[in-house]
């Protein structure tokens, strides 16, 4: 996701960060302002839009039915997809998903899946035959850095207001009935991405900061503070000590961000 910035700008950013400062006067461990709007897409079973500074991500949840996987006949299916919509950045191009959008989708997917927030067995309609399929579609509308945290938070927020169709089985046939039941979540995973610039750990990188960043570490943290998914990205590295430090910072930040979710 490269939109080239000048070397002068890069130096300015890294020098600021070395002193513990940032372009927009935030502390290294501060997030930008977060605003979440829920349920704005009526056609979707669940939806949420997040504004993280100027980064904007819309997540829609659609619920369908399908066959379960053969190795999990009693469980529903979760599918996460991410679209880096071309209107969101000059660096996004139309076409099939590239490695960046695939990685984003899989990080969001792992946060939800590994936290076991959805009770997959409750999504079973008829064992081995029919189950609910929950499609989580991440739609990036404006890219100003930290798409991972914004997308993950919006996805959980959208799942929190997702309504599952009611159904009954009559004469061996599955019939969708009137009305809905809320999809109940067992946990509220929050993903925190920590960037390394020089030897400093920084949260919620803006677009320009991401281009100076050596490497990043995204961690999904559950309500109990335990981490359930991690992804390192970027061409740099972390020392083992930095990883432990980052995991503690992620736990702290996740607890703060979780307050933005409504349940």
């Amino acid at each position: 996701m490269s939109t080239l910035i000048t070397k002068v700008r890069q130096r300015q950013i890294s020098q600021l960060i070395e002193k513990g400062k940032r372009l927009d006067d935030r502390a290294l461990t501060d997030y930008r302002e977060i605003k979440i709007e829920e349920g704005l897409i009526e056609r979707a079973e669940g939806s949420a839009k997040i504004l993280l500074g100027k980064t904007e991500v819309l997540v829609g949840v659609k619920v369908g039915t399908g066959e379960p996987f053969t190795d999990t006949p009693n469980e529903g299916v979760l599918t996460v997809n991410a679209e880096l919509v071309p209107l969101a950045s000059p660096s996004f191009e139309p076409g099939p998903p590239d490695e960046n959008s695939i990685e984003l989708a899989r990080i969001v997917d792992r946060g939800i899946r590994e936290s076991k927030t959805i009770d997959n067995e409750k999504l079973c309609i008829e064992p081995g035959k029919k189950v609910f399929v929950v499609f989580v579609d991440v739609y990036v509308l404006n890219h100003d850095g930290n798409l991972i945290d914004a997308s993950a938070l919006a996805a959980v927020s959208a799942l929190l207001n997702t309504k599952m169709p009611n159904f009954e089985i009559k004469d061996g046939e599955v019939k969708i009935k009137q009305g809905y039941t809320p999809l109940s979540l067992r946990s509220h995973p929050v993903t925190v991405t920590i960037g390394k610039i020089g030897d400093k750990l920084v949260v919620d990188l803006g677009l320009e900061e991401e281009q100076v960043m050596d490497a990043r570490l995204s961690m999904a943290v559950k309500d109990d503070g335990n981490i359930c998914a991690i992804q390192k990205g970027g061409s740099g590295y972390f020392t083992p000590q930095q990883i432990i430090e980052a995991s503690k910072l992620a736990q702290e930040k996740a607890a703060e961000m979780r307050k933005k979710l409504k349940w």
Partner: protein
Amino acid sequence: MNDKQEKLIDKKGIRLDGRKADELRPLKLEVGVLPNADGSAYVEHGKNKILVGVFGPREMHPKHLSRPDRMVLRCRYHMAPFSVQERKSPAPSRREVELSKVIRESLEPALFLELYPRTGIDVFIEVLQADGGTRCASITAAALALADSGIPMRDLVVACAAGKIEDTVVLDLYDAEDKLGAADVPVAYMPNLNAITLLQMDGTLTPEEFEKAVSMATDGCKQIYPMQKEALKTKYMHIKEETQEETEE
């Protein structure tokens, strides 16, 4: 899943395949196995069998992907259709696209990318048989293939996973443990620089367990590192032996 699942690790701390908690699977590494590649390596890690070929640095094709100020590393992690129980479609899956990316990012810190601007170097990874931990074995072999190609490197990159089965943190999960275990933490590491270049996790660990898993995995890397160096040296060892003979005369 069966209700009466056999325990993945018994009371004496012995795993289903007979290993102790902190024991690696047998590992075999070979360098210079592909005549047409500029560098190559083959790894057998447990039942994993993986071939890696490196081409370049060479002109980038397509040209617009080249960078004016640095070399571009490209990685393709690919699983052979017959490498797993149920035939895998040869078309690249989303998992393979993601792994190709994280493997690339685990190798980049080892290279001096600012050398040879406008060129590209390709790392092709073919998993011939998978047995859990393929990304780690791929990284260990890819670093060898890169060193064998003659590209300057900061260090070899070596990778190994730790994880949790039942309630125990263990080293180097194989397929069954990966599928049924509670968590898997693959780590890639440059031992001489104390740098972690890949870290992923699937599954839940407490902070204490996580810390233990990272240190166990890096310890595993430190165990593999000498084998990796040995494999690289073996290809060139006859040269060294001859030098010694001559000086002894």
